[in-house]
Symmetry: C2
DNA sequence: TGTTATGCTTTACATACTGTCAAGAACAGC
DNA sequence: GCTGTTCTTGACAGTATGTAAAGCATAACA
C-alpha cells in the first residue's frame, strides 16, 4: 500500500501479464509469477484464491490498462453505424496484440474452471451486445443488407471481429495490421451492408 | 493383433476419442484413457511415446474414421468452384461435431508441445491448400470477386470455414446446422464472389 | 515338450505443479 | 512497547506425467 506505485495485487497482475505476453502462452506457473513479482509463491495466494481467480483478474486488468472501455465508448458515439463498423476493426487492430496472450491463457483454463468460464462468458456477451448495437444502428439507418436479420448479423459481426479470427489472419497467416484492417473492413461491408 | 477387432493402439485411440468427446475437453488424463481402454496406464506408453504423440495420432484417427479424405476428394471433383464452395460448408457441418473435442485438446497442448504444433500446422496448411484450390477455380471461372487477390481470398475462406468459427456460431451462439450452412454459405458468396 | 519373444501388469520412483498450513520475521500505526 | 497486517520460510498432501524394472501369460517356434 505504498503511496507511490501499485498495490501488491496489481504488481502481481503486472508481472503475470508481462510473463504471459513474453512466453506467449498459458503455461506460466504460480512460482514464476511470484518470482517475477518479487514475492514468495505463497504471497500470491494471499491476494488470489487460486490460479483461475488470478487469470480472471488479469483479464480485467489488461482490459483496463489498454483503455478498452474508452475505445468502446468512442465507438458508441460514432456518427453512423457504418463509421462504428469501421471503428470496431480499428479497435481490434490496436487492442488484440496486447490482449491476445492473456486471452489464450483464459481460453485454455475455462473448460476446467467454473470462475474462468463465467468471466469468459461475461466478456463474450458484453462484446456481443456491442455488436448488436452496431447492427441495430445499421438497420435503423437503412444500411443493413437485405434479408439479414439483426441477431444473425450481430453474431456474424461478432465472430468475424473476434480475437480468434484476428489470430488466424494476423498471427497464423501473417497479414499485416493494415491488411487485416482493410480486408476485414471490406469483408464486413460486403457481408453486412447493402453498400 | 487378434483377427477380429482393432489392434491395441486403435483401441486406445477409440477409447480416448470417446472419452474426450464425452467430457468435451482436453482434461483427460493418461490414466483415464488407459482405464477406458481396459489397459494399465503403462501399457499406453508402450504404444505412444507421450501424451502429445497420442493426441497427434488421435487427430489422424478421428479424421480417417469420419472419412474426411473421401469428402474432400468429392469436393475437388465438384463441377464448379461455386459448387465446391457450397460443399466446403456442408463438410464442416457434418464433420465438425465429431472432430471438435479432439481438435480442442490438440489446440490446448500445441503451445507447449513441438510435435503437436507440427501436426497442427500440417493440418492447417493442408486445409489452406484446399481453400486455395477452390479460390483459384473461382478465379478461373470468373466468379472471384473483383479486387480480391487469390491468397487473401484463400485466407478468408480458410478462417470463415474454420472449426473455430463453427464453434463460435453453432456451439456458443446456438445456430442450428441448417442456419450455419445457409448463412455461412451466403457469407462466402457475398464475400468471395461477384454473384 | 521346452524355449523364446511379445505384450501386458504391477510396483516403484523421479519430477513438477497446485493448493494448504503453521510458525515466525519485519514493520506499520497506536 | 504492543498489536495487527503482510510477507517469508518450510513442510506437506494431492495429482499429473513420464521412466524403470521385475514378473506373468501366451502364442509362435523348434
Amino acid at each position: 500500500m505504498s503511496r507511490e506505485g501499485l498495490d501488491t495485487a496489481s504488481q502481481i497482475l503486472e508481472a503475470a501479464s508481462a510473463l504471459i505476453s513474453a512466453k506467449g502462452g498459458a503455461d506460466v506457473t504460480m512460482a514464476e509469477i511470484a518470482k517475477a513479482a518479487k514475492l514468495s509463491r505463497q504471497a500470491v495466494y494471499l491476494h488470489f484464491a487460486d490460479r483461475a481467480a488470478l487469470l480472471v483478474s488479469l483479464a480485467r486488468y489488461v482490459d483496463e490498462k489498454r483503455g478498452i472501455g474508452e475505445e468502446v465508448r468512442k465507438m458508441r458515439e460514432a456518427s453512423t453505424g457504418l463509421e462504428a463498423l469501421r471503428m470496431v476493426v480499428s479497435i481490434q487492430v490496436r487492442m488484440n496484440p496486447g490482449v491476445w496472450a492473456v486471452a489464450r491463457a483464459m481460453d485454455a483454463v475455462r473448460r476446467t474452471d467454473e470462475a474462468a468460464e463465467r468471466s469468459w462468458q461475461d466478456r463474450l456477451t458484453h462484446r456481443l451486445e456491442g455488436c448488436r448495437e452496431i447492427v441495430m444502428r445499421l438497420k435503423k439507418e437503412g444500411s443493413l443488407r437485405a434479408g439479414l436479420d439483426v441477431p444473425a448479423a450481430a453474431d456474424l459481426l461478432w465472430t468475424i471481429t473476434s480475437l480468434r479470427t484476428w489470430e488466424d489472419l494476423v498471427l497464423d497467416r501473417g497479414w499485416s495490421t493494415q491488411q487485416y484492417e482493410k480486408r476485414v473492413h471490406q469483408l464486413l461491408l460486403s457481408t453486412l451492408t447493402n453498400s
